[in-house]
Symmetry: C2
Subunit: 365 residues, 2 copies
């Protein structure tokens, strides 16, 4: 199953596009979540995720990337297909979820579909809403991971700061070049603990990106969460298929236990491996994260050119084209005007955008 | 010239609608300044100003209010006529300025036009962008002022706080019921001085509302600023007239010196009088002023019902219908979303909205 020089290992990117991204409201909405917006550059995030594994991009690493499988909410089928079509990508399959059932279900579907559609290929499970600045470094880590494909390889991001918003992975003994045993997965830590991890070294952020041979993932699911594997098998068998579309049914998918692949598989398995990389990775989960990543002016503000920001410091301003935004005399404040709505709050309360969305939803209900 | 019980004194309201209200951007714009918005209630401010002097409203005071003369920028003719028509008011005249030339020019035009169109009537000069909560108290002050119509009567508003944003008038000896000599006009004071005025008593805010017989105003202009009177006379003679429209020409109006009626007439004249009143007056010059006047929730926020304001205190939120605004964790901040634009700034920097507008204008130029 390992790659050799003459026959490049085939890899199917499985793009997880199920998130709703309410903490990026009002840009990110139920109708058009964050992965369908250009948050990390000119391309939308789902496009950037697909382009990261274009067929050409793998060749220099001795890898053969196949067209992606997309797993998204059924409400977003047209969006997903349109965004991919715009960059010339025709997916192998588009799996439509009626609702989310977390990442263990997605990993199970990825394993079963890659096995069915591309026997012998590996799967790489990719969230559609991550930014990776150094894509070459990331693909190099994937190439290392391929050499460890009897394992389930998770990609660890070398911390640039003691972030408390990410889980951490502690690396152990080397398995092969660039790949290590996992000593343990650590939950999102308190600040002091995060600082200790960074000072100690040997810890990576858990990026939620996985490389595996379908057989390995399926046997580990069978060993640790056979209920999830069985329910996913039933759901895929019952799904309506038409061309490349796989439409899961409400009843069968509702029966799938909702669990993360970290908890269901990665923590109990003895086959976990970690490939650390320094790839400028970010999970754009909030407006404060977008501020952290953005190009700042001399006073630390991230602002669109068509806004007016005076006497302000370290602010994050986002405005749709055509919306004039004026900000004066603020520090560490987020101001977003998008889709005919506006949100304003301090950067250190960026998570509370969620509460605004929930309040608005409750009013409608 | 004084009113008697049998023949009510005729008074022509002259509504000054020339302001641009840039400090209330983005609600107030060049195309539709603040007086054409409903900032103090259901009626727009220009409508409320006209309704304050409806023919019926004067009768119980022994006054006969005639239809108003409107003085506005030529760009706003249709707006002004439409807003008045909507409340059944047909103006005596609509004077169209090509640009503003301050209030001395307006007072001169008011005197000349009232003399021409309604000989024997008094003029009351009214800014179109003031809120007056107790209109009856205000009209009662006007009725007092009529008895002193050999003077130029300015209406002084009894201070409710040591505001530093208004000029003050010190009252002297009584002239007749409710009307006093003016000891002096005081510029916008520093905080400590404003506090001393309020503590001492005998000071009113200068509301910029004037009652006068045309002959008195004209003779005082002749005495103190004949250049303004001459230039206004030339401009009115050269104006294009059609039905009730009086269109000033660029060249003749540009020749009118730009000065306030306070400086040009009220300060030098010995005929100034002040009628203090407690009428719930406010010059809505800024968003912080709108906050001061607005209905506040338990935490001091003024917010539209369709917004979501969480964990915030003493904020001023304004949003067009249909625009969802979410605010979290802020104190003393103004958030306005109107006309497709947004402004966010601390309440104590409300004046700086002007700088945002100027910056945007400079970019367009």
């Amino acid at each position: 199953m390992a790659a050799d020089a003459r026959t490049p290992m085939r890899i199917v990117p499985v793009i997880m596009s199920g998130g709703s991204g309410t903490r990026l409201w009002p840009l990110s909405t139920d109708a058009r979540p964050k992965q369908f917006h250009p948050l990390g550059g000119a391309a939308t995030m789902i496009q950037a995720t697909a382009l990261r594994f274009s067929p050409e991009s793998g060749l220099e690493m001795g890898l053969s990337f196949l067209p992606p499988i997309i797993i998204c909410n059924r409400a977003h089928e047209a969006l997903a297909r349109d965004h991919l079509k715009a960059i010339g990508v025709e997916p192998l399959a588009v799996v439509l979820e009626p609702f989310g059932r977390n990442t263990a279900a997605v990993a199970a579907m990825a394993a079963k579909l890659v096995q069915e559609l591309c026997p012998g290929a590996l799967a790489v499970l990719l969230p559609a809403d991550h930014v990776i600045a150094d894509e070459r470094a990331f693909r190099a880590a994937v190439a290392c991971g391929v050499a460890a494909s009897t394992r389930i390889v998770t990609f660890g991001i070398t911390p640039t700061a003691p972030e408390t918003g990410y889980g951490y992975i502690q690396s152990g003994a080397p398995i092969c070049e660039g790949v290590f045993e996992v000593v343990r997965f650590a939950e999102k830590p308190a600040r002091a603990i995060a600082e200790a991890y960074v000072a100690e070294g040997g810890y990576s952020w858990n990026g939620g990106i996985f490389l595996f041979a379908p057989e390995v993932m399926l046997s580990e699911l069978e060993a640790h969460r056979p209920d999830i594997l069985t329910a996913v098998t039933v759901a895929l068998d019952a799904a309506e298929r038409e061309d490349t579309t796989i439409r899961l049914t409400d009843a069968t998918f509702a029966a799938v236990p909702s669990e993360s692949v970290d908890v269901a598989v990665m923590e109990p398995t003895r086959l976990a491996a970690v490939a650390p990389c320094t790839a400028g990775w970010a999970d754009i989960g909030s407006w404060s994260e977008l501020w952290r990543l953005g190009d700042k002016d001399a006073r630390g503000n991230v602002t669109p050119a068509h806004s007016v920001v005076l006497d302000s410091d370290d602010c994050m301003v986002w405005a749709d084209i055509g919306v004039q935004v004026g900000v004066v005399g603020l520090r560490d404040v987020i101001v977003v005007a998008a889709g005919g709505a506006v949100v304003v709050l301090p950067k250190d309360r960026a998570q509370d955008v969620k509460r605004v969305v929930e309040t608005l939803r409750a009013r409608k209900a």
